[in-house]
Symmetry: C2
Subunit: 190 residues, 2 copies
């Protein structure tokens, strides 16, 4: 039997570079020239691999969601207590969106509304991921509207991308502190 060769991975190299640039500069400020320049290619050549700049973003976005889903599922595997699962999921989420690999960072950095022609599709990809969280939150049954709880949790988690520093708290520490703050009382008596 013959070995099936991987498709030539030039497309993947382009995607890696695009992910990094989209994550660091945002979709509009990262240009086709930036992306091709980063992989020693000329601007026209990218259109052999992708039909448009938006098409590149969509591919990066999907891979980003795939990676964060994978990270979350890896972390919750085998964990049974619902709140421990929530903590594990938060750690998986945080590690993915703060990863230097950049793919998952793009799904936080680039908001669907930034690219109107792709907004519906990007939102759908995001929602697919958020439905994973719906289940996790429902199982933990927090004493607050579950929808708000999920939005607060992911909002707080994602905002870490604005202030996270490599020489500070680890993604794991941040995620754990976040779930703890929501699980246990941190406030004064009343």
């Amino acid at each position: 039997m013959s070995i099936v060769r991987r498709e030539n991975n030039r497309s993947e190299v382009i995607l890696d570079a695009a992910a990094l640039l989209f994550a660091n500069r945002g979709f509009h400020k990262a240009t086709i020239r930036d992306i091709t320049g980063a992989v020693d290619m000329l601007p026209g050549s990218v259109y052999y691999h992708f039909e448009s700049k938006a098409g590149i973003l969509l591919a990066v976005y999907r891979e980003g969601v795939r990676r964060v889903v994978e990270s979350v599922e890896d972390h919750i595997a085998g964990v049974v207590d619902p709140w421990d699962r929530l903590t594990a999921a938060a750690v998986g989420h945080m590690e993915a969106i703060l990863s230097p690999t950049a793919y998952a960072r793009v799904i936080v950095m680039v908001r669907p509304g930034d690219v109107p022609e792709l907004a519906a599709e990007l939102t759908a990809v995001r929602d697919e991921y958020e439905s994973l969280w719906r289940g996790l939150v429902a199982d933990a049954s927090p004493a607050i509207d579950h929808s708000l709880f999920r939005l607060f949790l992911l909002g707080a988690a994602n905002s870490s991308q604005l202030w996270f520093r490599d020489d500070g708290r680890s993604p794991r520490e941040i995620a754990t502190a976040l779930i703890d703050a929501l699980r246990h009382p941190v406030g004064g008596a009343r």
Copy 2:
């Protein structure tokens, strides 16, 4: 004594339009043509009032921070219990950043990194506002690192801009639910 006439308010009209467009489309997608078109002016004319597009953003940003500070201070005035003050401040913050008026929305929508030449200045303006929160959090003394608490709180609050709808929960309800979730236990026993 003569009445001092307000400076002609054409500049303010431009700022209003710019705030709305920056808030809705982001800095890079809102063009000078969009802004001047919205106030029936031609692109070149705006440079009589402002030296550059970035200069317009800076003015909008400062006014946005001024408004959210004002809103927060109005809400906490006279409230003495530290956690009640936190709730009041959150309501003020939320109402400002979800206001249709758009100025305060810009400080959430446009991230300092979006405009490198202004990044330091925008961050400084933001920090001035966040220091107000440092005091509020310190007074409430939550049983969690105060810096993380502030970042989680504002991160969750600001993310509401992505999912808030006029026909859903009010800014006040959202803010109250957020502080409650952090103040009281919502999790299971452990």
